[in-house]
Amino acid sequence: MRPWLHHNGWWLRRLLLLPVHLLVFALVAFALVRTIPGDPVLVVTGNQISDDQYADVQRRLGLDGSLAHQAGEYFGRLLRLDLGDSLITGRSVTEEFGSRLPQTLELAALGLSVSLVVVLALSAVVLLRPRGVISRLAMAYARSAGAIPEFAVAVAGIFVFYASLHWLPSPLGRLGPDDPVPTPVTRFPLLDAVLTGNPQVVGSMLLHLVLPVFAMVVANSAVLLRLLCSQLEVELARPATRFRISTGAPRWVVLASIYRRALPATVTMSGTLFGYMVGGAVVLEGLFGFGGMGQYLTDAVTSADLTALQGLLVVIAAVSLVVFLLVDLINMALDPRRRPGSGGAA
């Protein structure tokens, strides 16, 4: 037990910090809602309400009583995973997020996965055939880093591949009109479709995902590609790489050695990019008629749905913290010098 703890302490300790961090951000969300200009009750309802109604709304927003009382209520409900009921729609915010968030996260995760595969493949080509046509195109593309928004690619894609060429289905949802909707099991739509085991549904869903995922990959891979290529270049020139080559290590070992040293920066950037892609997914959902966080959030923003927004902050923090944790853990696995207590580079 002791040696096991000793060898695995680095990620266990990191994991145990998660709830602490979450608590801090829940506190931030709690504070933020109380800093909005004007009386929150009036912001939500408009001005024409009676005193009774006022007290009721105030209670339902969790803004009644002393600050300590409010905080007690808030964290008490948070522990039960209850984010409150929306005053506007009357529905539970937790339930809304529960059914919508997985859709958005799945889209973002698909975007990031495809992007990583593309970037890893392209970077290897640039590394091994720096003067080839593919490498030149890849580097020209990498220069566009950060200049192309995903909705631009998506709008252009819809115009070309749907409106003009009719190669792809209409951007009106995840499935065609005749496709049966898979029963929700995990609430991740593609995963559910795969679990249901109907190849027609999976195929249709994939076809509907082509454009949004393509848009996210085109918009976000350049940053990643540029970073990875520059890191690979740095690692390639190091004596450690030359020593490996010189001692006749197999080519794949040399490549693994270079990549393992070059990847941490890319992994960190992937964490950032996942955040961008969640944002991108929210933007694209409206364009492609996907259910998800997109429509719900824009509605919540335009109607000043404070309960939903406060809940959103907590959920953003939770998702980001998990991503941050994964980034840390992957980097610690790749580069043992990053593990706490490893003594650093010595």
């Binding site: 190091r238 030359r242 070992v253 040399v254 393992r260 010098r337 580079a345 010595a346």
Partner: protein, 322 residues
């Protein structure tokens, strides 16, 4: 014999040069001109010159100019000179680490074990030069910091010949014991950052020797170590090289230390080899630069002097300026 220029353009448009490169990468020895025998010198460099490309695309001055050097099988040769004398560049050219992007090389011939090899490589990711292993200055930067010593050693053992897995583990331990690291299990599980400087240097030697070189190039193998450790490491390195029946090319600035362990010393000054001496007859040095180098070394005789002379005290006339 004509001087052949191997720039990137010439290299890629010159069929003979290209096929030579391909041969050196993979083809069996029979395909090479003058198939290798043990009688062949391990290294032949004939009139080798190297210039680096400057940021603007222009060529800089010759860092190595018209250098010729031959190393026979089992011979141990040191290249001695100050920093900037071109000795490290010479080593990189021999080891196959000069890229067409950064350098231009002219030469009459470069051959390893009797086979012609290109002096510059076009790939961004170079390949190993058969039979040549190069060790770099500092073991801390030369060893891969994120992999365990065991995995780095295993990748090399059996890279140049088939070895089955259990044998491989045993050979790794064998090489670690050879360099004086008895606690093999602990060393193999450790990453370079967890070892002391001396241990890292030994690990680097173990990996270099495990790769089975015919020619081992060591670039300043002791410059990161203190004097006592430097002597120990140099002695071990050349002893092990001899046991492996490999030749050695040691690049260093420390002429007295290296002279105890090598057969010949080539003195490099401003990119040229100005003198090649037998290590046992340093006193026979003719060139003023060599004499100056030797005079800067503290000896019992110099103990009476107020201060040691430095190179600046000597009016060394460079051969090309003369």
């Amino acid at each position: 014999m004509s001087t052949e220029t191997t720039t990137s353009r010439v290299a890629s448009s010159h069929p003979a040069r290209r096929s030579a490169r391909r041969r050196s990468a993979a083809a069996p020895k029979a395909a090479a001109p003058g198939s290798a025998t043990s009688a062949d010198p391990v290294l032949v460099a004939d009139r080798l010159s190297v210039r680096y490309r400057l940021p603007g695309g222009h060529l800089g001055p010759a860092v190595v100019s018209d250098v010729s050097l031959t190393i026979t099988a089992g011979e141990r040769v040191a290249v001695v000179g100050e920093s900037g004398s071109g000795k490290s560049t010479l080593a990189l050219a021999v080891a196959g680490f000069l890229g067409t992007q950064q350098s231009e090389v002219t030469l009459d011939r470069l051959a390893v074990m009797g086979r012609d090899v290109p002096a510059v490589v076009g790939d961004r990711l170079p390949r190993a030069r058969d039979g040549v292993t190069m060790m770099f200055q500092d073991a801390m930067t030369s060893l891969d910091p994120v992999w365990t010593v065991g995995s780095q050693l295993r990748a090399v053992v059996g890279a140049r010949e088939e070895v089955d897995r259990r044998d491989r583990q045993e050979r790794c331990r064998h090489w670690l014991r050879r360099v004086g690291l008895a606690d093999t299990e602990r060393v193999m599980a450790a990453r370079p950052g967890e070892l002391s400087g001396g241990m890292r240097q030994r690990v680097m030697m173990a990996i270099a020797l495990a790769s089975g070189p015919r020619l081992l190039i060591a670039d300043e193998p002791t410059s990161a170590l203190d004097a006592g450790l430097a002597r120990e490491v140099m002695e071990l390195l050349l002893e092990l090289t001899e046991q492996s029946r490999a030749s050695a090319l040691v690049v260093t600035h420390d002429i007295t230390l290296v002279s105890e362990y090598v057969d010949r010393i080539a003195v490099m000054y401003r990119g040229e080899i100005v003198e090649v001496l037998s290590a046992r007859r340093l006193a026979a040095a003719q060139h003023p630069y060599t004499r100056a180098l030797l005079a800067c070394v503290p000896t019992l005789a110099s103990a009476g002097l107020d201060r040691l002379p430095t190179l600046a005290d000597f009016d060394v006339i460079s051969p090309d300026a003369a």
